[in-house]
């Protein structure tokens, strides 16, 4: 049997950081990733932070990957505006939360996780190779077991192998956690469901639209009627030449009033302010005359497709300084004017010869969904089992405080702590839970993020309250009167937060994370103080079937999900809550069509849920 020092299971940003850190420490490690390549299974809302907490230290992405991260990594835009919008109908009330966004932060970049993780994988893989390790993708771990003092890992694809230590980074639906019994499956109260679409938009149009510089980015958050009465909110982040538009809702709230996840994204996209943000110029093909001979129909179809593709590519390039430069320097065009001239000629050919119309609408590139663990409610207290250390989502660790949502950086911080603990264990040749596991657990306790999952940070709260200082007291007072009074004054706040922290987050949460906070108060704010915003067009929202059709899958004919009870109340709700409509009700029984599954795990609680076999399942292009 082949034997390796460390096996990391899962090649998301946490697992990859663990691999990189172990390699930095000169240790051999292999990383097993089920997706075709690292990054194909990962989705994030879209912001990666680097933090500098006042107390304790955070291990950040640039600590792991070095300065090359900022100079070379495919990060999208540095977020310099962070706005919260309360919506009601066509009215919007806006608060500037940039200070909260910048709180204890070195930076926050919008990212597309598919691209970014594949860069992480390149860096980590190269370092790992030097230590005799590396990344093995397209392999799904089936089991971890202990035989004769050896830890044996079995996969669906390869011969079993041995590892002395295991780092489980297999995400919110961790199979390793479940099969070892290290933790229970998360429950709806502990989770948020996030759904996101990537919207195409040329680079310079983004800058003009959002009033940002070439390197800057904007983040917009939404609460109010766009939530359709659910606890949570919408977001819109600018990337280099795309936008991430999504909705994150408390799973428990969705269970109470089931709504199709895409309707929540649609509600956001229909909001006039968001609609105006995403709008672009779109080519609409003319229906082909069916009276033409078949081969002529085919020829026209292919000709139009080709021209539209050229127009899109050229237009994107024309609106991107770097691409423009490349085209001219590459000799394909003599000047920028020539690009423009070609762009115009393609357009007029489409309009004249093929009656293609150019309209105002928006273009979606990818639909995605993921569960987000709310660390306050579900972080593993001791994130280890035997010689397995759990990190990131797999350990239920994420910071989720009002508009502050951090997961990627928490996972990276965990990864460094786990890697350090494993390296220490290798040096001492002691992988026992008492030594390695406990040591890791202590290091996790020291993490500032662990503190954020347990206590209210009064300084953060102050920034938040300052931002809301223009909000009339009567709107807030009505609901949070006492709390608000306490929190508003500096001295009282210190006392109140101290008292609240004694009470514990779990007792306070229902007070704050409520419909009032996310729905009623914002609606009232918008109605009383909001400015009217009008949309100049009505966005054409794709159906869920169209969204699914756009995704790339390598379908596994064997379903990775088994429904345990075809009549349970929970499963009945999945008919609505599955983001890709995999469940349907037939004759009172729930049936599953797994082919469209995007592996979010929304249905995992009452199903036998596995990740698909290696290379199988969804293949995200953006993430």
């Amino acid at each position: 049997m082949e034997s390796y020092e460390v096996a990391i299971i899962g090649g998301g940003s946490a697992g990859l950081a663990a691999l990189k850190q172990l390699s930095n420490l000169g240790k051999q490690a292999i990383l097993i990733e089920a997706g075709k390549k690292a990054g194909t299974k990962n989705v994030s809302g879209g912001i990666l932070y680097s933090k500098k907490p006042k107390r304790g230290r955070a291990y950040n992405v640039e600590d792991v990957y070095g300065s090359v991260f900022l100079s070379d990594a495919p990060i999208e835009r540095r977020i310099t505006q962070y706005m919260l919008h309360a919506t009601s109908g066509n009215k919007v009330f806006t608060m500037d939360l940039t200070a909260a966004h910048e709180y204890q932060a070195n930076f926050g970049y919008s990212v597309l996780l598919g691209k970014l993780n594949s860069w992480f994988a390149k860096q980590a893989g190269e370092s790992a190779e030097k230590q005799g390790g590396g990344i093995v993708s397209g392999v799904h771990v089936r089991s971890v077991s202990w035989q004769d003092g050896k830890t044996v890992i079995e996969t669906d694809e390869l011969e079993p192998f041995e590892a002395k230590a295991v780092i489980a980074a297999d995400g919110v639906n961790s199979e390793i956690a479940e099969m070892t019994g290290a933790r229970n499956k998360f429950t709806p109260e502990q989770l948020y469901q996030g759904v996101k679409v990537i919207v195409k938009m040329p680079e310079e149009i983004i800058e003009e639209r959002f009033g940002i510089g070439q390197e800057d980015g904007a983040a917009h958050l939404y609460a109010g009627d766009v939530t359709l009465n659910h606890i949570g909110g919408g977001f819109l982040y600018t990337n280099r030449d795309t936008l991430s538009v999504g909705a994150v809702y408390h799973y428990d709230s969705l269970m109470q009033r089931p709504a199709e996840p895409y309707t929540l994204v649609n509600a956001l996209l229909k909001n006039p302010m968001v609609a105006e943000f995403v709008k672009d110029e779109v080519a609409v093909k003319e229906e082909i005359d069916r009276n033409l001979p078949k081969e002529e129909q085919l020829r026209v179809r292919f000709a139009v497709s080709k021209l539209v593709k050229t127009w899109n590519e050229l237009r994107d390039a024309y609106h991107s300084p770097s691409a423009r430069k490349r085209l001219v320097e590459g000799g394909k065009y003599k000047s920028e004017e020539e690009i423009k001239a070609r762009l115009d000629s393609v357009r007029s050919e489409l309009e004249g010869k093929y009656r293609t119309k150019f309209v105002t609408d928006y273009v979606e590139l990818e639909y995605a969904a993921k569960l987000v663990p709310d660390g306050k409610r579900c972080a593993m207290r001791k994130p280890y089992y035997k010689n397995i250390l759990f990190i990131g989502d797999a350990a239920g660790r994420g910071v989720f405080i009002g508009p502050r949502i951090e997961g990627l950086n928490v996972g990276i911080d965990d990864a460094v702590r786990a890697a350090n603990a494993v390296a220490r264990a290798i040096d001492r040749n002691d992988f026992s839970s008492n030594s390695m596991g406990e040591h890791y657990s202590q290091m996790i306790e020291e993490s500032p993020f662990t503190r954020d999952m347990k206590e209210i940070d009064k300084d953060y709260l102050k920034i938040f309250l300052d931002a809301a200082k223009d909000v009339p007291k009567d709107i807030i007072g009505q609901r949070y009167g006492m709390v608000f009074k306490l929190m508003s004054s500096g001295t009282l706040r210190g006392l109140a937060v101290g008292f609240a922290n004694i009470l514990g987050y779990d007792r306070l949460l229902p007070l704050v994370e409520s419909e009032d906070t996310y729905v009623q108060v914002p609606i009232e704010l918008a109605e009383k103080m909001g400015r009217p915003v009008a949309a100049t067009y009505e966005p054409t929202l794709p159906t869920i079937a169209q969204r699914v059709a756009q995704l790339k899958y390598d379908d596994d004919r064997i379903s990775h999900i088994k429904v345990l009870d075809h009549e349970s109340e929970f499963m009945k709700k999945m008919v609505k809550l599955c983001p890709t409509n995999c469940y349907s009700m037939e004759d009172g029984e729930i049936t599953l069509q797994h082919e469209a599954c995007i592996e979010c795990g929304t249905c995992a609680k009452e199903t036998e849920w596995r990740h698909p076999r290696g290379e199988k399942g969804v293949n995200y292009q953006y993430g």
Binding site: K294, A545, V548, Q550, Y553, H594, E595
Partner: protein, 393 residues
């Protein structure tokens, strides 16, 4: 008087003691062509079936009933399974053996067959290629129409630009990859003095399911000639170690009904395919597709695409030939290639908005309408009427 190049040799494929369907189809077409040839040119030339096998004499007799004038039968345990290397060498030996040809004809000048047919399936395509490489002549693949004609050819290389008459030339028609065009391929001797060279046999591989076998006629008589092959020991080092039969994922043979769909799904492909699948389920039918669908021209979810838009389901010349009791063609215009695959069906219903589409000439009931409008109605009626039928039973 005997010619250098004579007869039409048909290389027979068989499996499990039975000829694969295309073998009989090739014999049928060979018979029809040579009947014409015998009348027009010479009665001396024959349809010769060539069989490599082990204990297959019964099959040889059958081949005569299905149109062969003569069968050359090569029996050896080495032919239990087809192996390209050994098979090619033996076929070449047989095809160039004058003594064998003399068993059923004058053949005093015989060098090689005039024409040669192979099956255009996995085995035949490869076998035809290697045999023709060995015989150093031309090959046209995937043919679905054949004509023998005297042609006047003017070709830069073949005839040095002069008009030259080529007698008894086999015109081999091949459907183009687009499905709209037909390319005629000829295998011609170089009559240009600078590059003079003779190319025989004129050979092709024939698409399964295109031609009809002739009616089995037990009164037909023919010569069965045995041939004992010469093996090169080294060639026998290629061994078949194991053979597993995998049932095709799509079973057209054992179902009574087939529902096929084509480009007509395009307006909402995902939903329409699901609707077709529902219809198939209601009728306990298998789902078929027209060739363009297997090229995945429409974006649908991967699950639907990998279940339905696959070559396994293609019905037509480049796919399967089917003959269920009931055939429903939904949104299929009825390209010739598709018709060839389903025309033997018992009862054909077409659903199509365009009354001018060729499928109208190939169906018993033509429902004029878009499938998205018709199928739900049809499904409703089928479900409504179903219990009544069961009661009757």
């Amino acid at each position: 008087m005997s010619a250098k190049y004579e007869h039409l040799y048909v290389v027979i494929e068989h499996e499990d003691g039975k000829p694969v369907p295309v073998s009989l189809e090739m014999l049928g077409e060979a018979r029809r062509l040579m009947n014409g040839f015998n009348k027009k040119y010479s009665a001396n030339e024959k349809v010769v079936a060539l069989v490599l096998g082990n204990n297959m004499r019964r099959l040889c007799e059958e081949l005569i009933f299905y149109g062969a004038d003569a069968v050359i039968y090569v029996d050896s345990p080495e032919f239990q399974y087809s192996r390209n290397l050994v098979d090619t060498k033996v076929i070449s030996q047989v095809a160039t053996n004058r003594e064998l040809a003399k068993k059923f004809s004058d053949a005093s000048n015989f060098i090689k067959p005039r024409y040669m047919f192979f099956a255009a399936d996995n085995i035949g395509r490869q076998l035809s290629s290697t045999v023709l490489a060995d015989l150093e002549s031309g090959l046209a693949s995937d043919i679905n129409k054949l004509v023998i004609e005297d042609l006047e050819i003017k070709h830069e290389h073949k005839t040095k630009g002069q008009a030259v008459k080529y007698e008894k030339t086999l015109e081999m028609y091949r459907p183009d990859f687009s499905g709209f065009l037909w390319t005629t391929i000829l295998c011609l001797d170089n009559r240009n003095p600078a590059i003079e060279r003779e190319y025989h046999p004129q050979a092709c591989s024939i698409i399964p399911g295109v031609f009809l076998p002739i009616e089995r006629d037990t009164s037909r008589r023919g010569v069965i000639t045995d041939y004992i092959p010469k093996f090169d020991e080294r060639d026998l080092r290629v061994k078949v170690l194991d053979r597993k039969i995998v049932k095709s994922a799509v079973d057209f043979d054992s179902c009574k009904a087939i529902v096929s769909f084509g480009r007509g799904i395009k307006d909402s492909s995902e939903q329409n395919i699901k609707m077709v699948a529902d219809l198939a389920q209601a009728l306990e039918a298998e789902v078929g597709v027209s060739l363009p669908i297997s090229k995945k021209p429409f974006a649908v979810s991967e699950g639907v695409s990998s279940t339905y838009m696959i070559p396994d389901r293609v019905i037509g010349t480049s796919g399967r030939k089917v003959a269920p009791l009931l055939y429903i063609a939904a949104g299929i215009s009825g390209a010739m290639q598709h018709i060839a695959g389903m025309k033997e069906s018992g009862f054909v219903v077409a659903i199509n908005p365009d009354e001018n589409s060729p499928i109208k000439d190939e169906c018993d009931i033509f429902i004029k309408g878009r499938m998205e409008d018709v199928i739900p109605l049809l499904l409703e009626e089928l479900r409504k009427q179903k219990p009544a039928i069961e009661v009757k039973k």
